[in-house]
Amino acid sequence: MIAIIDYGCGNLFSLSRSLQFLGIESKITGDAAEISDADKIILPGVGAFGDAAEKLNSTGHADLLKKLAKEGRYILGICLGMQLLFEKSYEYGEHSGLGLLEGGVYPLDADISGLKVPHMGWNKLDIVRDDPIFANTGKDDYFYFVHSFYAKNCDSCLLATAEYGVDVPAVAGRDNVYGTQFHPEKSGEKGLALLKTFAEL
């Protein structure tokens, strides 16, 4: 069973339905016991980093996720959920993340010019390090992005980038902890294939 963490951030409908469509058992839950019992965990998220980090802390999910990650539990962060895996974010102030991946989250508009922010739409991956998460992903596959902040200084866990004025980290991962900046649950067949791959890791 995959636990989709419900901490009041974001719309979980499509994520939950996409797993159901794939025949993968999942549950939207905020319950610590259920999360602890899950084979794998997905950390979703839409909205502001500061709010989301505070909610993860106040609900106790932050400590639980750190503990389960250390024990080797597979975790996938999606969009803001990926950003929360890093050490810090500079989205309207400075906020601490979960620190499960090395790197920080910075505003995209400071580093690109002449391009629209948010980075919204379908973009292609450049896989920089091969990883089992890409078992069903090719170099010409497109994924759906919507974000205004992006990860930097994350070479130690960088798996794939997408070109948008800069090389935007699109997939990060280290051992059992993964993150995708794009929304696999909104990326058609290729997105579903990646979710399935994660579920089967």
């Binding site: 499509s14 469509f21 919204m120 739409g121 973009n123 992005f145």
Partner: protein
Amino acid sequence: MITKRIIPCLDVRDGRVVKGVNFEGIKDVASPVDMAKFYNESGADELVFYDITASHEGRRLFTDILRQAASEVFIPLTVGGGINTLDDFDRVLKCGADKVSVNSGAIKNPELIGKAAKKYGDQCVVLSMDVKRVDGQFRVFQNGGRIDTGIDALEWAVYGQKNGAGELVVNSIDTDGLKNGFDLEMLKAISDLVTIPVIASGGAGKKEDFLDLFNAGVADAGLAASIFHFKQVNIKELKLYLRENNIEMRI
């Protein structure tokens, strides 16, 4: 780099997809859920569900249809028609919509744009406008193109962006249904004034029209309905054609 997008629009009434010519003479096409699946398989980058009668008759969207479609099609979904309040946003977002398009609701209550952007994020708010030339001015029309609001479309587009709209849909009433190409002049006038993505609507009749649109650099996406519904243009072939002509497309 991100691709240009091809977006079929499903105008829905009474749970069925319809498409008018100049908003009149509506013909039934098919089931919205089947159409959504068909378009997803053909490579549509996004889908728009639009309740064409909602603003006129105050009808609510058929959220069960949306929920069904969102349970089987995993690409971005935009929902419009009859969106007048934050509760309307909430209702469709809970059923799997990713973006919500406001049209008449924002004309009646312009603050809705800002309030929704603050609550759900700019990326979620699409300002859709039906525009027609009146006395040499681009004028915003309301209620499916029936009422001239007197609002200047250029000012309205700028207002929308300033208040948090994440995208603009510009539907030219002048070219809608004529299948003679998008309204490049109108689109240029508007896209020159905003930095948010502009989705062109109204007038597509053949694949060359999309190439002209993207080559003109006046839109990030092309939206159409009847030419896709009646299979005059096949989305897969259209995207291959555009890619062969150096427009980046997700195939």
